[in-house]
């Protein structure tokens, strides 16, 4: 029984080592840009912008991570995002639907597309790569058709608030308080459960740290955001999505099954898991998140355009991979994917501040993607 608590802490160390390294890499990147931009990078204003910029990719990365963990891939999210944004704008402008209806329609359409592609993958045995490569082309075609090749402006302020608004500061603190209560409750739940199943001495220091670190992060985040204009709505949505994704992957049977299917599909099937149904579910989930990302994207721009979301699928996949996900499935975390998205966004933001030419930005980002995975592979072989 004592072995149990040891185990827990040792596993924590190995899985957290990666996370520490990634946070260290992010800190280095931030420190460099802060120095190179003459202290512009790490200001509340720029951090607020940075977080807003990353929210679309971050939301897509959360859904993509779950798809990748199940040993699948979705190349169509950029096109689906364009289509969902187009549908939202079109239903506001041409059909004169109210904002809530337009929002629901856009998300439902994106989710339906995800479900459809999931069914083709899981039940028709067409590889996800092919299904979604077809989707990449077809849904892009659909959005061009729908918008007639034009950019459709969005006038409704309520809609634009999704992409451009900020949470009033007092609301921000209220939410932060709720989040802190939630963290304390989760830690309490795990301690209580450990005690009730007689797993020996509960490590109260570790439990306290598990509560204190996230609480400190929440407070710091809120202080920074509120010293500019409050929490931007896209950031609020992204953080909620990320927490939801982390909860699904770490604390539900559905999440566990995704890892099992990606880890060894045959073993999962023989253990009584309905692989196909779970694959459809995860594609549907990514579809819904793509719809949400589409709302933010079109609301920020204030318009839906036929080329909205082009190459976004690659950003999302890159974020997952930089965050340690394996395209073979079975491995990857939401936390890693979010840090991966933050690293990509920091590079974009920092290099733009430094006026690095855009072709150079692409070359650097591409090199970093390959280098990150190369280092990971190297490290794993040593281990």
């Amino acid at each position: 029984m004592n072995a149990m608590s040891e185990n827990k802490s040792s596993s924590l160390n190995t899985s957290n080592l990666r996370a520490y390294i990634m946070i260290a890499v992010l800190a280095l990147i931030w420190a460099y840009f802060h120095w190179a931009t003459d202290s512009i990078f790490l200001t509340p204003r720029n951090l607020s912008n940075l977080m807003t910029q990353m929210s679309v990719t971050g939301i897509l990365a959360v859904g993509m991570l779950m798809v990748i963990v199940s040993a699948n891939i979705d190349l169509s999210v950029g096109s689906v995002m364009g289509l969902a944004g187009g549908i939202a704008a079109y239903s506001l402008a041409s059909w004169e639907f109210s904002v809530p209806v337009a929002v629901v329609i856009a998300v439902m359409v994106a989710m339906a597309i995800g479900t459809f592609q999931g069914i083709l993958t899981a039940y028709m045995n067409i590889p996800a790569f092919i299904v979604t490569l077809g989707g990449l082309l077809a849904w892009r075609g659909a959005v061009k058709w729908q918008l007639g090749g034009n950019t459709v402006p969005i006038a409704e302020d309520h809609y634009k608030f999704i992409g451009q608004g900020n949470l009033p500061m007092s609301y921000g603190w209220a939410l932060a308080a709720l989040a802190i209560i939630f963290v304390i409750f989760m830690v309490y739940r795990s301690v209580r459960s450990a005690r009730s199943y007689g797993l020996g001495d509960v490590n109260y220091t570790a439990a306290a740290l598990k509560a204190i670190i996230p609480i400190a992060a929440i407070v710091a985040f809120m202080l920074v955001m509120n010293s500019y204009q409050g929490v931007p709505i896209p950031v609020l949505i992204f953080v909620s999505v990320a927490l939801f994704g982390a909860f699904l992957t770490t604390s539900t049977t559905f999440g566990r099954y995704l890892y099992a299917i990606g880890g060894n599909a045959e073993a999962a099937r023989l253990s009584g898991i309905n692989n196909r149904l779970n694959v459809v579910k995860v594609f549907a989930l990514l579809g819904a998140l793509t719809g949400i990302a589409a709302l933010i994207f079109s609301a920020r721009v204030g318009a839906a355009s036929p080329d909205a979301g082009v190459l976004k699928e690659l950003d999302a996949i890159a974020a997952c991979v930089i965050g340690g996900a394996s395209l073979m499935g079975g491995r990857g975390t939401i936390f890693g994917a979010c840090i991966g998205a933050l690293i990509m966004a920091s590079l974009d933001n920092g290099m733009s501040l430094l006026n690095v030419r855009d072709f150079m930005q692409d070359i650097i980002k591409g090199s970093i993607l390959v280098a990150a995975v190369g280092l990971d592979m190297f490290g794993r072989k040593q281990g």
Binding site: M1, A3, M4, E6, N7, K8, S10, S11, S190, S193, A194, S196, Y197, G198, L199, T250, S251, T252, T253, F254, G255, R256, Y257, Y259, A260, G263, N264, E266, A267, A268, R269, L270, S271, G272, I273, N274, G330, R331
Partner: protein, 503 residues
């Protein structure tokens, strides 16, 4: 001077000595059969001969025409005139017959293949073997049997002096078998030495000049076929004491836990081919039912079918807990209290990159963790029960499964199924590739589970294991029940006779 001489071949794998000083000779124009139980070392010996295990990975000497050979790979052995036809075909289905025959040795000028010469030579070769196969059709369009004949033609196109055939008739129809024998007779007259591996003793006696029996990685003996009888060969194959590694056991049988009637399973690849053919049996609470049979007898296919995980068509009825049940997926089977410790733990049993706890709780996750939300502590409490009762040797529940020894991996798979609290447990090759100590522990656990009232169906290729553990033994041969024996009736000779289709 013999055509081939293998002297004192020793080949070790971690924890196992697969070949322990085997010697073997083959004369030109000789048909030499190599027989033995599954795992006796036949295939390993042939892999040494063909360079699959290159020189340096084994000890001993290989001489061809009196010259010492050290093969670094298959290419080298092919050059020396050794051709092997493995059980699994090594043809590229999308390429034509002719292209396959000359794969890697295409007649060409400056890298451009001369197709007319290629097909001309292929046609000559096929005609020489009296095979009516068009060299221009894709291999995939031929039946499995004709593909096998193409494989043989390919081997012969390389002017093989030594031809190894590993169960070559497994996929052939009767007419194709006759065609094959015609070819082999012809080769014999041309002076080709042939090593023939087969479980079918009829075939072995039909053509062989000499027969060598292997057992536990050692040569039991080499004899002229005329001096032997089938019974004598069987006795040599099994002639081993059932050691005392099997715990003394006394099982009390209860009522029937599950009954399976008229189970027939069709091959998903070859339409109409029955891999399991009208098999019926039952197993009682507290009973260990052994299922014996040789490779390809349909044992795993039978278990897959009655677990709801067979990918092809099947028919039959299944009763569990006194009522008829419908199985369309493994989750149905699990719900009705059937567990299945599958063979080949790396492919079917474990997520090797995941932790012991994740592996162990997978099949019973909703019960040992939560219907929707998981609870790590609850899982840990559940998994630590089999972890300690099976004495899994690992740092902790958080140890990654892939880093464990084979025996401990097997215990994790067993633990996974015990957590589902089964009424009937299928065990498919539960001790393959694990060391003797872990085997003993698993044997003890099987006995304990039976004493606790679990109904166990045990498939094993190791006869001593089947005999040492089973209360009753069912023998399969080519998908059909070839015999059923109680513990007192069962002898190695009887089981082997039934398994080789020789009653």
């Amino acid at each position: 001077m013999p055509l081939l001489e293998m002297k004192n071949i020793v080949k070790e794998f971690p924890g196992v000595r697969a070949l322990d000083g085997v010697s073997f000779t083959l004369e030109a124009g000789e048909f030499h059969a190599l027989v033995g139980e599954n795992g006796a070392g036949k295939s390993t010996l042939m892999k040494v001969l063909s360079g699959v295990y290159p020189a340096g990975q084994y000890s001993g000497e290989i001489l061809i025409d009196g010259k010492t050979m050290e093969f670094a790979g298959i290419r080298d052995s092919e050059k020396a005139g050794v051709a092997i036809i493995f059980q699994e075909l090594s043809l590229v289905k999308e390429l034509t017959v002719g292209e396959n025959i000359f794969l890697g040795r295409e007649p060409s000028t400056l890298g451009v293949i001369n197709h007319s010469e290629l097909y001309h030579r292929a046609a000559d070769l096929l005609r020489g073997l009296k095979l009516d196969i068009d060299p221009r059709v894709p291999v995939g369009s031929l039946g499995i049997g004709r593909q096998q004949l193409v494989e043989i033609a390919k081997a012969l196109s390389q002017d093989a002096k030594i031809l190894v055939l590993d169960e070559p008739t497994a996929a052939l129809t009767d007419t194709e078998v006759e065609t094959l024998y015609g070819i082999l007779e012809d080769l014999r007259s041309r002076g080709v030495g042939m090593i023939y591996i087969s479980h079918k003793l009829e075939e072995v006696f039909r053509m062989s000049d000499r027969i060598t029996v292997l057992r536990d990685g050692k040569t039991v003996g080499t004899h002229r076929a005329a001096e032997l009888t089938k019974d004598a060969v069987i006795a040599k194959m099994v002639g081993r004491e059932v050691g005392d590694i099997f715990p003394a056991s006394h099982h009390e049988f209860g009522e029937t836990a599950a009954a399976f009637r008229n189970i027939t399973a069709y091959s998903p690849d070859v339409p109409g081919k029955k891999l399991v053919d009208d098999v019926s049996f039952h197993v009682r609470k507290g009973e260990v039912l052994g299922i014996a049979g040789l490779m390809g007898a349909g044992r795993t296919e039978l278990l897959m079918t009655i677990f709801g995980s067979w990918k092809g068509k099947w028919s039959g009825t299944i009763e569990a807990g006194g009522k008829q049940i419908k199985l369309s997926s493994p989750s149905d089977a699990i719900r009705h209290g059937i567990g299945f410790v599958t063979e080949d733990r790396k492919r079917f049993g474990l997520m090797l990159d995941h932790t012991i706890i994740d592996n162990m709780t997978l099949a019973a996750l909703k019960r040992v963790s939560g219907q929707f939300l998981t609870d790590r502590s609850r899982e840990a409490a559940a998994a630590s029960v089999p972890m300690s009762s099976l004495r899994v040797k690992a740092g902790s529940l958080m140890t990654v499964a892939g880093t464990l020894s084979g025996g401990n991996q097997q215990k994790v798979v067993l633990g996974k199924w015990l957590l589902t609290e089964p009424k009937v447990l299928f065990l498919d090759e539960p001790t393959r590739g694990i060391d003797v100590g872990a085997k003993q522990e698993i044997y003890a656990e099987i006995n304990k589970l039976a004493q606790d009232g679990l109904a166990i169906v045990l498939v094993s290729s190791e006869l001593p294991e089947v005999l040492g553990l089973s209360d009753r033994v069912l023998v399969l041969h080519e998908g059909k029940v070839a015999g059923e024996f109680t513990r007192t009736e069962a002898t190695p000779e009887k089981l082997m006779a039934a398994a080789t289709g020789h009653q």
